[in-house]
Symmetry: D5
Subunit: 122 residues, 10 copies
């Protein structure tokens, strides 16, 4: 059953922002993220949080879930995968402001959180 | 017994602000909100928080409770229903400042919080 | 959209117990139960927990979820609804042992938990 | 034994601020506040927090406790009673800055917090 | 508004046990109990928990709430009031088994819990 | 990188029990278990706990970790996978007593815990 | 102001047990116990819990508080002081059953709990 | 053993700040502070927190501990003792910035926190 | 400074049990245990809890602390080190009953608790 | 096995920052830090947190772990060791901004947190 395809930003779907002019934040918490360590091949686990002020569109939740599932058998470092998530999110959703946080479970007794912020050019 | 009428802002009642000139915040936490997912028809559950600085009037709590109950059999997306609550609240209460937060329980392992702010034109 | 049908034990589906001879407990926690107070018509909210040792069959989770959803617009007292859940569960699943706990949110500052146990005649 | 007298600001006693020129905050947390709902006559319960920067005087704690006890059999809405506490406190203590928070336990599944701030004219 | 009448077991109402033969526990948690210290006249606060296996009848919740409210202006020691609650409960409800716990907030830095059990003669 | 082989009990390694005659319990908590739902193909997540009194041998932790990782792309129901873990564990470790608990994260608002106990024939 | 007298069991006062025949437990939690380490002279801090089924009498709380305060400047090891508390309690209160727990805060990174049980000869 | 001497700022020892030019905060949390109420003679208990940016010197921890112990049998009000701690600390340590928080356990159901800030003249 | 000597049971000191005939439990919690993994040389960390009913003697706390510190640079598996602690404790203290729990922090996402019980022959 | 070499900043390895121009924070939490008190020789324990915005390079986690392990048998005061960590980190990683927090477990009932901030010259 392991035929997850490679994740691709084309999987992310959007819908029109119902109130584009309002001060309006959407926070989406995904505690079931898993990918593979590119060095050891062992699974990594973490929680990915998206917090954004939408521009013209909002992310569609089910497409986000399916997109994140595809990282399951992908090898990627914490910093790289969190930046990849930001690149894909910005390309598709073009939010006015967005913060993405990757909180990864301990490895060797050490836990790591990566926080990336992006703001649209005005 | 399922004869809840459609929610309508005319149900919301108010009473005069006892100290209109003061810096004064009222926070109302409603952890028993439920509506229906318009796609699947399955129930959604969440906590709605209203935090506002009243203008001339304050919201009457019992009318707010009855108004929120009427969403029980209404189909609405998270973003839409939270914005609807803001529109109705602002229309009836005309607060100097208001923040409404909808925190919805996990679906597909993903939980969502929608935060909307509004400030009266000065 | 309020056309939830009346709950009926015929909705509950089962599948064969994979290890009937083993000491084996299944706990199912359903924190999104809601029904109506038969006196006031106001919604009640609670968590229903099923903890059972299966006999020949196990409960199928999706059918349990759909069955519980149908109480949404049904008026019933705490004690009555928890006993009703037990009657239906025993009739369909015939577990060797079962405990059902209904934990209801506060009303008038008072919260109520109803715990029912049942053991099959040997 | 129910002969609590009506609360009155004359009950509040003060003592001189030991360091009037310093940046100095006193927080007093009173989790055992109770009064009556003026509509239903049922008891309300809450925590009252006073957080202030004293001017010339500080509030004497025992007198504050006795003053608060006298609300026991008084009927008053949340907003009204919190504003009354502020009026009395400011009249007697004349603090440079004060914040009073009334956090009331759930009624009908809804809990309410009232936060009032006051700053002395400079 | 302080005209609470004296508490009396005649206020407690019951309804028939829906399943007298079943192993069936009802737990009722009342965190808003208050009475007066008979020595000092100061208010006491506590949580009263009733946990019982009904015999022929169950306690009606609203009548229990109103009965407990009447202790508001009654002077009574912790041990005495918890035993009084047991006496009244047993006289009216005649449960097969009952446990009543009074958990009182700290006085002089010391907190007290009183637990009483009663079982019907067989 | 998705070439996880199928899990097989031959992967589980053991080492001799250092004190076979003692009353001695080993608890191993594995919060990073994931497999696939055989119906939907979506990932499931859970914590697997092994609690056992060793007989002649103890489980080697690293081999247990690698064995559990191989369920990553395997489709299996909660009850089936937990029983499978028990079968493999008993076959290889032959403990005097063992309890295995699978605690799975919510799906459709419902979370499930499966607890299996096994005792060696004396 | 350091003139605390030596603690003595004669300070402990009692009152008659209101229901001597009942199954009845009183738990008294005293989190503000302090004495001195007899080796170093440094203060020790702990919580003393008394849990007992009264015989003919109950302990009077205020006298217990004053008795415990007198250990403030007394040097005593954990085991000795907890046993001393038991000896004095049994001598004065003669409970049917009693458990005393001394939970002391960490010293050198190590915390200690001493639990003593006593049952009256039948 | 009750021969604690009176506290005096001369007991506080310091050592040179290892990096005087850096933005550098030291937080010291002392949860075992006790003194006496000057009115009643009963013990008070609290946690004292020092949070400071050192100037030329840092406080030596053992001397701070011994200094705080000497308040054990001293009678002092909350506001007075916290201000006294600030005066002594500033006189000896001369920090660039310091905040001292005294958090005292409940008396009569009311708990009190005193927060004092001080900044060196530039 | 790394000259910790090898741990040896001769370091453990005792003192006479003050009440040999009483039902009396001493629990000692040591959250700062560290040793080395014999395979990788990496440090392991855990909490060691001793819970025992003393026979003729009690363990002296400071000698226990120094004894435990000496494991700092010793390589030992979880099961081996916990059994070693039991052997040494029983040899020196000869308790009537003892339970030792080693709770070790996660390695590779897996945490382990080892619980050993011992009872003196009667 | 106690042959840990002295810690040296040359052990710290880096890798290129994947997005040097972005607002990007990495937080690394290391709860298993231990060193020795230079006065007493007893072990100290703490959690070290690094929170930084990378410049041209990021810290490699495994090298950080091995570097921190080498403090195991080094004697150093809290303030000195936290400043040493900052010096080494800045020398090797040259972050745009960095905050290092050392949170040390209680000694003599007092716990200490050292927070150091550093910002690169612009």
């Amino acid at each position: 059953m392991s035929d997850f395809e490679a994740p691709d930003q084309s999987q992310l779907e959007t819908f029109p922002n119902p109130r584009p002019g309002r001060d309006f934040t959407i926070e989406i918490i995904c505690p079931e993220f898993t990918s593979l360590c590119p060095k050891t091949g062992h699974p990594d686990f973490g929680t990915i949080t998206f917090r954004y002020i939408p521009g013209d569109v909002c992310i569609e939740l089910k497409s986000l879930k399916l997109y994140l599932q595809r990282f399951r058998n992908v090898g990627s470092f914490y910093e790289a995968v969190t930046n990849r998530l930001m690149d894909d999110f910005v390309a598709v959703v073009a939010p006015r402001k967005v913060e993405i946080i990757g909180s990864f479970t301990p490895r060797g007794g050490i836990s790591t959180n990566v926080t990336i912020k992006h703001e649209a050019a005005q």
